[in-house]
Structure formats: C-alpha cells, structure tokens
C-alpha cells in the first residue's frame, strides 16, 4: 500500500496500476508455466560443470530467470487490486490465423494465385469496416498481381495456378 501513497500525486498512474495488475497475474502465470515447461522438457539434458557447460545449462538458466521474474510479477500483482485485461475480440485473430493456415494448405495443391486470393479475402473479412464488394474485387486484383510478380519476376517455385486438367 505504501506504493500507492507514493503515487498520490499522480492519480492517473494509480488507476493505471490497478488495470495493470490483473494483466500482471496473467503475465506472471505465463512466465511461470513456460519456465516449468522448459525445465520439464530439458530433464534429460546434462547440466555439466562450470568449466564445461552442458547442453542443459543455458535453457535452464534462462528458464530460471523467466520463472523468477514471473514470480515477482505474481507477487507484485497480489499487492494491488484486481482489475481486468482489456477486452479482446478474437474474431480478427481467428480469421487471420485461419487465412494463413489456408494459404499454407492451398499453396502447393492449388497454386499461388488461389492461395493468395484465399488469404487476402479471408483476412480482409476481419476488418471492422469491411466492405464486401471492395475486398472481393481488391483481393482478385491484388492476388493476381502479386502472384504474377513473385512467379514471373522473382521466380518462385510454385505454379501460378494448378488446374485440374
């Protein structure tokens, strides 16, 4: 609580620190989990001695640092009030991830142009101010141009389009 009196002359900071605290819990947890995971994954690796560091040394040292810092964050968060992480829309990230995965999946089977088209169109749909006709037309034009440039000018090794005949 003494940290809050120190900040009495900066009221906006105080509310910021309250918002930050729930984030810090999540942040700290992530770090601790990552550290734990690393230690577990590196179980079999040799630590070695100081004069001859083994393969397991650096990952564990780094993980230790991550873990300790995570604990510090958690501890600090416990001394401040509870507040929420800002609201996140997951439609955007989901659509974009799907678009990228779709691109990867379509690239060899269908060719550069269809893959680009899928990526451009699907990701474009994630925009909050999306205009459907606009993104369709733009995607076709842009994908064609891009695929052509990469295929014919920069000699990428994927076909422009794979036709089933």
């Amino acid at each position: 609580m003494s940290t809050q009196t120190q900040r009495a002359d900066r009221p906006s900071r105080m509310s910021l620190s309250r918002i930050a605290s729930r984030r810090d819990v999540a942040a700290g947890l992530i770090l601790v989990v990552v550290a734990g995971l690393t230690f577990w994954l590196n179980k079999g690796l040799d630590l070695g001695q100081l004069s001859d560091l083994g393969a397991g040394f650096m990952p564990r040292a780094a993980a230790l640092a991550v873990g300790i810092l995570g604990c510090i964050l958690l501890a600090a968060a416990c001394f401040q009030g509870d507040a929420s992480i800002e609201k996140t829309g997951w439609k955007g990230p989901l659509l974009i991830t799907a678009a990228l995965a779709g691109f990867a999946a379509l690239l060899r089977p269908a060719g550069l142009f269809p893959a680009c088209l899928l990526l451009c169109l699907l990701s474009g749909l994630a925009a909050p101010d999306v205009r459907y006709r606009e993104i369709i037309v733009y995607s076709i034009a842009y994908s064609a141009t891009c695929a052509a440039i990469f295929k014919y000018l920069l000699s990428i090794t994927i076909s422009f389009i794979v036709l089933p005949f």
Partner: protein
C-alpha cells in the same frame, strides 16, 4: 586519415557496382546496389508515411525477399527502409498530426501548427533539409568512430564479449518502455528460445519436440515476422484508424532564408544530441527528438512560440531522429551487438547470409562495411531528392484504407515466409508467433526485448562457455578482467538505478511501435 579516405572510396566503388540482370531473356546492366538503396528508401518513406506499419515490421516482412540478393544488397535495402521511414514519418506528422513513426511524435507539435498556418511546405522542406544534414554528419560520425571502436573490440576476449552482451541487453531493457520486470522476462524468454534446436557444442537436441523443422533452431525470420509483422496487424485491427487531412495549400516545399537561418543551430544541436543518444541500446533513438525539443525550447529567446509553429521545434527533433538512425548502426557494425530490435533484424539478416557480425566485419568483409556506410549517405541524398517533389504522392497514398492494406501485407509476408526454405510450415510458425505476440501484448509484454534476447542468445551462450573453459570454471574471470568488470558494473548500476527510480516508468516507445 588517409586510410579512412581510401575506405570511403572503396565504399563508393562498392555501391556503384554494376551487375547484369536477366529480365525476360535480356541481359541488362544495373547498378544494383544503388537501385536497392533507392527501393529501400522509397519503401521506407512509404511505410513511414502510412501509419499502422512500422520500419521494424516492414524490415521483418521484407527479410525473406532480400535473401535473393547478396548480403551487401540486402543490408543496403533494409537500412534504406529504416532511415527512409524517419523521413516518411515526418510527412504525416506535419500534415495530419499523426506521427507516422514513433520518432516523429515531437514533430507533430510545431510541424502541424506550421501546416495549419499555411506553412506546410516550408515545414516539410526544413524537415527534409535538417534530416539530410543530420544524416550526412551522422554518417561521418559512423566513419570516424567505427575504426577505433573496432580496434578496441578486437581486444575483447569471450569474457568481455559476454559482459558486453549482458550490458547491452540490460541497457536496452532499462532504456526501453514499460515494466522493467516484464522486459527482463522477455529478454530471458528470447534467450531461452534461442536455445531451441541442436546444441552446437554437444549436438544434443534441445526442445525440438522431435520436429526436424526445429533441428536448426527457430528460424529468425519466422519469429521476427510473426512477432512484429503479424502481431502488428492483429493489434491494429482493434483500433480504428481516423485520419484528418490538412485541406488547402501545401505550398512550395522550400523554406525561406529566414527559416533556414533560424533552423541551422537547432539542426546542428539536434544532430549532436540525436547522434549521441542513438548509439545507446534501447530507445536511444526515440529519446533524441524529445531531448532536442526540450533543449531548443530552453535555449529559445521566446519559448512561448513553441507549440505554436516554431520552426526550431521542428528542425531540431527532425535532425535528431535522423542522426540517431545513422549512429544506431555503430554498435551493430563494430561490436556486433545490436542496440535495438531493428538492428537485431539486420544482424539476423547478416547471419543468415553467412556474415558474422562483429569487429571482424570491417576486415573480413570490407565491401559490406564500407558499402553499407556509403549507402547511408547516398540514401540520405536520395531521400532529400525523393521527398520534396513526391509529397503529393504520399498524401494521396494516405487515402488507402487500412482494411485493404493489411491483407496485402499478409500476402507478401506469407509468400516471403514460404520462400525462406520452400516450406509451408514456416507460415504456420509465423502465424503461431503472431498469436503469441498478440497474447503477449494483451498482458503487457513488449516484443522488442524478446527479439534482442533471441538474436544475442546463442552469442551469449557461446562466449559464456568459452570464457568458462578458459578460466577453468571460475566465475571470477568476469570480474578480474578490467573491461569485463567495467561493462558489468555499468549494467548493474543502470539496473539498480532503474529499479530504485520507481518501477512504473513513463512509456518511451521504441521503433517497434506503429
């Protein structure tokens, strides 16, 4: 002195190399490095003008494409993007009150006021001229200081290198944005990620999950593109992009003699301030314009003019940010220790092309070193010439809505990722890191320290191992040797100072923003 002159001539020689390019069956002679420099500067200005896409994101997106060129060409182009973005960022700052780049935040203050008073033209002009002078002097600074610094660095042993890296990482964390603890955690996480793959010493697989695609470690481009390119897109989707333009006359982009007279000292001071701060790891480059503005306001005869269109308030910071952009190359080129995320990207680009960054670059790859430095000056010249007439074009481009821009970025990124190793998995990894970066941004983790830790991780481990082998396991080696002790002390002092000056510091944004 004569030696330096001959090196500069080497640089000009390199940059005017002509190669024969095959296009559509014809063999055409092209001054390839000059062309790449121009392309870099052009793209740089373009992204500097467009908000929502920063130089770090752009460099990471274009990395795979540059692998088609040799290392000199790649670095010239990528560097051009960097300082081109400084120029571009000022244009939007002045015209639209939106700083295109983090370093143009200060230019908004008086630059936009000048624009509102119908003096957008002279404002843009003085920004360009100031930046050019700063860029020239900055490049000269790089030339003068690289050789002695490199000689010092050659005396470094593994213990000193270890200490240098630790100091560089700590300073980067201390001088950067947000929570100290989180930034340190990100650096550590970066180092952790750098250990994934086959350990070079023992050949043992570390955290590869049995995947052959991870045997060589996490590809640098995937993590860079994912964390900076994709994450940026995901984050931008959450904010709406509002743009209001200056309507009316921009006027001729030439300042008056009076403007020039009033600006010359701010320009020189800004160059010096920005240049000095640019060498520092972390946000040294971003601090420059702020410091310059504060100095000019202090020194002005009538400080109340500041914030109302005082040209010194524009000329100084603009020069500072460009000078900082040049001098931030120094630690990277001479010591091989990148001070910022963007420099880390360039280090990554060099490493992938087989060039080990460090003091030996000057002697082993003089073409690269001097060609790059010369391209800095040529680039600044190109930018001066490009920007003044092309302002109208940039203004039109600002009308392109972000909803069309970001799918375009994603397509180029995806193709680029694929082309690294002709593998679709790269795209998946990139997307994974993009999501990770997005999640991290929600809990307040910054990606730049992670990238720095990642890039320096293997160097750190290597040198640590060697230092300990040489000292037969004694940790005292790091404090017995004077240089190493000095470097570690600086790191310790900086860290302690940061901890005790309060742990929620005001946010100084770094290049990875916007």
């Amino acid at each position: 002195m004569l030696e330096t002159l001959s090196y500069i001539l080497t640089g000009f020689d390199v940059i005017s190399t002509i190669s024969w390019i095959q296009i559509l069956g014809l063999s055409i002679p092209v001054p390839i490095y000059l062309v790449l420099c121009f392309i870099g500067c052009f793209i740089g200005t373009l992204i500097g003008v467009l908000p929502g896409l920063g130089p770090v994101a752009t460099v990471s997106i274009l990395l795979p494409i540059t692998y088609k060129f040799d290392v000199v060409g790649s670095l010239i182009m990528l560097s051009g993007i960097y300082y081109g973005a400084q120029y571009g960022g000022s244009t939007t700052a002045i015209l639209m009150r939106i700083p295109g780049e983090v370093t143009s935040v200060v230019s908004v203050l008086d630059g936009h006021e000048m624009a509102k008073q119908g003096r957008a033209g002279p404002a843009l002009g003085i920004a360009a001229i100031g930046s050019f002078i700063a860029g020239t002097l900055g490049t000269a600074f790089v030339v003068l200081f690289s050789a002695p610094l490199m000689k010092v660095a050659l005396l470094f042993g593994p213990a000193e290198y270890c200490a240098l890296i630790v100091m560089g990482l700590i300073l980067a964390v201390v001088l950067a944005s947000g929570s100290l603890v989180k930034a340190l955690a990100m650096v550590s996480l970066g180092i952790l990620l750098s250990t994934v793959g086959l350990d070079q010493e023992t050949g043992q697989a570390r955290m590869t999950f049995g995947l052959s695609s991870l045997a060589d470690g996490i590809d640098f481009t995937m993590i860079a593109l994912g964390l900076f390119g994709f994450t940026e897109v995901l984050r931008n989707l959450e904010t709406s992009h509002h743009r209001e333009m200056i309507s009316g006359e921009i006027g001729k982009p030439f300042p008056t003699w009076r403007d020039l007279k009033m600006s010359i000292w701010p320009i020189l001071r800004g160059t010096f301030i920005g240049g000095a701060l640019g060498i520092l790891p972390g946000s040294g480059g971003a601090l420059g314009p702020f410091a310059s503005y504060a100095v000019e306001k202090r020194l002005a005869k009538d400080p109340t003019r500041f914030g109302r269109g005082a040209i010194e308030g524009l000329a100084g910071p603009e020069s500072a940010n460009n000078a900082g952009a040049q001098t931030s190359f120094i630690p990277m080129l001479t010591l091989g220790v990148p001070p910022t995320a963007l420099m880390a990207l360039l280090v990554g680009a060099m490493t992938i092309q087989g060039v080990v960054p460090g003091p030996q670059v000057m002697t082993r790859n003089p073409d690269l070193f001097w060609g790059l430095i010369t391209s800095m000056w040529v680039g600044n010249l190109m930018l001066l010439v490009i920007n003044l007439p092309l302002v109208g074009l940039w203004v039109k481009l600002l009308a392109v809505p972000y909803r069309l821009l970001y799918p375009s970025i994603l397509v180029i990124s995806a193709i680029g990722l694929f082309s690294i190793a002709n593998s679709e998995m790269a795209i998946i990894y990139g997307a994974f890191f993009g999501l990770v970066g997005f999640l991290f941004s929600k809990v307040g983790f910054e990606p730049a320290p992670l990238l720095l830790g990642f890039v320096l991780g293997s160097l750190l481990e290597d040198n640590l191992r060697r230092a300990l082998v040489l000292s037969d396991g004694s940790l005292l080696a790091f404090v017995e040797r004077p240089v190493s002790l000095a470097l570690l002390s600086v790191a310790a002092i900086a860290l302690l100072a940061a901890i005790f000056s309060g742990n929620k510091r005001s946010r100084i944004p770094d290049d990875s923003d916007g």
